[in-house]
């Protein structure tokens, strides 16, 4: 288990409990279980208490937790017949973006998302979930394919942002993002998006201009990272806590602002503490939404998406 810095007291208690049990195993004559169980209770109370009141910055840390289920995990857990499709047909295959045909509860769909990787090797291969223009162009290609064959599009958003690299800029990072957003808006099939971890700026919008957008309880979605915002507006990157609060980037804030449609509850202690339960909750939501929207006329779906975004921002935060 990877503990976050604010989980230290929790780590201590859980550590003590497991030490105690190890001691009990080594010395069968000792009865440690009662004491260990008390520590377990204390730990679980503490966990519920910490996670019941996460600050915006702590949510950023949870959203980026290395053990949090990623795009690939969701695809494996929730979809069948997943058939990855590769390449943008122009330049390269971008491994930061996963996508392909799959079935969600039997219904054929196109699933697309950013994948961050789970260890050093895969993180480098996936470029930490930061797509290059090829990734956005691959997504456009897959969305177009889905549109032509009447398949709903499901996206799983988890990216620190689009990759800020030399080649990415030379090959038109901004144009690729703009076209992907345009494609989302043009789809005549239902499009559903879930922010499962980090929704980083334009790189996320290009995948999340959908009919329905959900966020996991401890995920974030922001115009800029708190660190980036702090270094620009506070002229001090260490002011990320203040920036995270000010940006209102939590699922709860975005729900309050009318930017997202649903907050998906995570298991106590975050999605990484019970990955299966977290993914199942997302699966149930997607299945329900798909039933609502499947079969709606292309024009109505486009209109629905357009109205949703045009109306956005007509309200500020509730006082």
């Amino acid at each position: 288990m990877n503990y976050l810095e604010f989980e230290k007291p929790l780590a201590e208690i859980e550590g003590k409990a497991s030490e105690l049990r190890a001691m009990g195993r080594a010395n069968p004559e000792m009865d440690v279980e009662k004491e260990a169980a008390a520590l377990d209770r204390k730990a679980s109370e503490m966990l519920a208490q910490i996670y019941g009141d996460l600050s915006a910055w702590r949510k950023c840390q949870v959203a980026r937790h290395p053990d949090r289920p990623h795009c690939r995990d969701y695809i494996e857990a929730l979809f069948t017949d997943f058939t990855p499709l590769a390449g943008d047909r122009n330049f390269a295959e971008d491994h930061a973006v996963m996508g392909g045909l799959a079935r969600l509860e039997g219904r054929a769909v196109m699933v697309i998302g950013q994948e961050k990787g789970h260890d050093t090797k895969s993180r480098i291969e996936r470029n930490f979930g930061m797509a290059r223009p090829e990734g956005y162009r691959k997504a456009i290609r897959l969305m177009d394919l889905a549109d032509r064959f009447g398949l709903p599009v499901v996206t799983l958003v988890d990216t620190p942002g689009a990759y800020p690299g030399k080649g990415a800029e030379e090959r038109g990072q901004s144009e690729a993002i703009a076209r992907a957003t345009e494609k989302c808006l043009a789809l005549g099939v239902p499009m559903l998006s879930v922010i499962i971890g980090e929704g980083g700026s334009g790189g996320a919008v290009a995948f999340a201009t959908a009919n329905r957008v959900a966020m996991l309880e401890h995920s974030i979605y922001s115009v800029i990272s708190p660190e980036g915002c702090a270094s620009i507006l506070w002229k001090d990157a260490d002011k990320m806590r203040e920036a995270a609060e000010a940006l209102h980037l939590t699922a709860q804030d975005l729900s309050g602002l009318g930017v997202i449609d649903r907050v998906v509850k995570e298991p106590v202690g975050g999605a990484h503490r019970d990955r299966a339960a977290a993914m199942a909750a997302v699966g149930a939501l997607l299945a329900g939404w798909l039933k609502d929207l499947d079969g709606k006329a292309a024009k109505a779906l486009r209109q629905d998406r357009r109205q949703k975004f045009l109306a956005m921002g007509s309200q500020g935060l509730a006082a």
Partner: protein
């Protein structure tokens, strides 16, 4: 909310009407260091007569030079909720807004207008870099939507001049949501079969480049303009290598297939008219300096006021000299 713009009273805009500039002010060219008399610089649309360096120009000054006789009608933009997040860093967002308004005399970072350019009716929108770095928040989003809706209503093309440091962080996620919102505006134009021409000016970066500023039917940039998604500093920090000379400048983008043209501000008007008239299948343009339209089309009342129409036209003549 009524998105269709209300009319504000038409005004005659001369190059000097908005801000009074002292008579004997000299400006130093940021590029060649030449001292330039402000009148000479303004008459040359803020392009250095010595080296051709393009300095910023306000939307009002740009429109004065763009529209025939300097006459145009502002298109009203629906007011968004102000300071939706009650944002405060070292300063309150509301204070930053107040300061920017006092400095520019404008409401926010985009001005929308309708009028005739080379006798071709258009709607134009120009972003104001001097207003909080031209950043895109809800007002700018509303402005672009209002511009597109007006263009569709009048069946006119939209010419958009971009200039922005990116999204307005002080509006948080709502600034990010202007990417899809402005993309919808572009779609409205495309569905109506109307040309959408983007002129990228220095600098155009971030979420602005990654939405409406890169979706034009024709993409033109002013010389030397920085155009990018991620800024050069961020990239250097990420890849830890020096970037090539001219990286992310207009000419570099042209070389990499990201733009149609790089055109001097002094030749832009002619070029825009030429392109638009072909896209609209109109007869070739009448060249030269045109006075304000004689018979304004329905809805537009050209009402030359105290400053006669001849004056800005004369000013413009100097500015248009090649």
């Amino acid at each position: 909310m009524n998105w269709i713009s209300n009319y504000v009273r038409p005004k005659i805009n001369s190059l000097f009407s908005r801000r009074e500039v002292p008579e004997n002010l000299w400006t130093k060219c940021d590029n060649c260091g030449q001292m330039l008399f402000h009148r000479e610089l303004a008459a040359n649309l803020n392009v250095c007569p010595n080296c051709g360096f393009h300095m910023p120009i306000s939307p009002a000054d740009r429109f004065a030079a763009l529209f025939d006789g300097g006459v145009y009608t502002e298109v009203a933009v629906p007011d968004p909720v102000q300071d939706p997040l009650k944002f405060r860093d070292s300063k309150r967002y509301t204070d930053r807004l107040r300061e920017a308004r006092a400095k520019t005399g404008e409401k926010d970072a985009m001005l929308v207008a309708e009028g005739e350019m080379g006798r071709t009716p258009i709607v134009a929108a120009a972003q104001d870099f001097s207003f909080m770095a031209g950043s895109m928040g809800m007002y700018v989003g509303n402005a672009i939507i209002a511009a597109a809706e007006r263009a569709v209503k009048l069946k006119r093309p939209l010419v958009l001049f971009s200039a922005a440091g990116g999204a307005r962080m002080q509006e948080g996620i709502l600034s990010l949501m202007q990417m899809p919102r402005t993309t919808i505006a572009v779609q409205m134009l495309k569905e109506a079969g109307l040309p959408y021409v983007v002129v990228l000016t220095n600098p155009t970066t971030g979420g602005v480049t990654a939405s409406y500023a890169m979706l034009g039917d024709v993409q033109i940039a002013e010389p030397g303009a920085l155009i990018c998604f991620a800024g050069p500093r961020v990239i250097e920090q990420t890849i830890r290598e020096k970037l090539p000379e001219g990286f992310q400048r207009a000419e570099y983008l042209l070389d990499h297939g990201m733009l149609d043209r790089v055109t001097s501000r002094l030749e832009l008007k002619d070029e825009l008219v030429t392109i638009l008239r072909m896209l609209l299948r109109l007869s070739p343009q009448v060249r030269g300096d045109l006075p304000p339209p004689e018979a304004p089309d329905a809805g537009t009342e050209a009402a030359p006021g105290g400053k006669s129409a001849a004056k800005p036209a004369a000013k413009k003549a100097a500015g248009q000299k090649k």
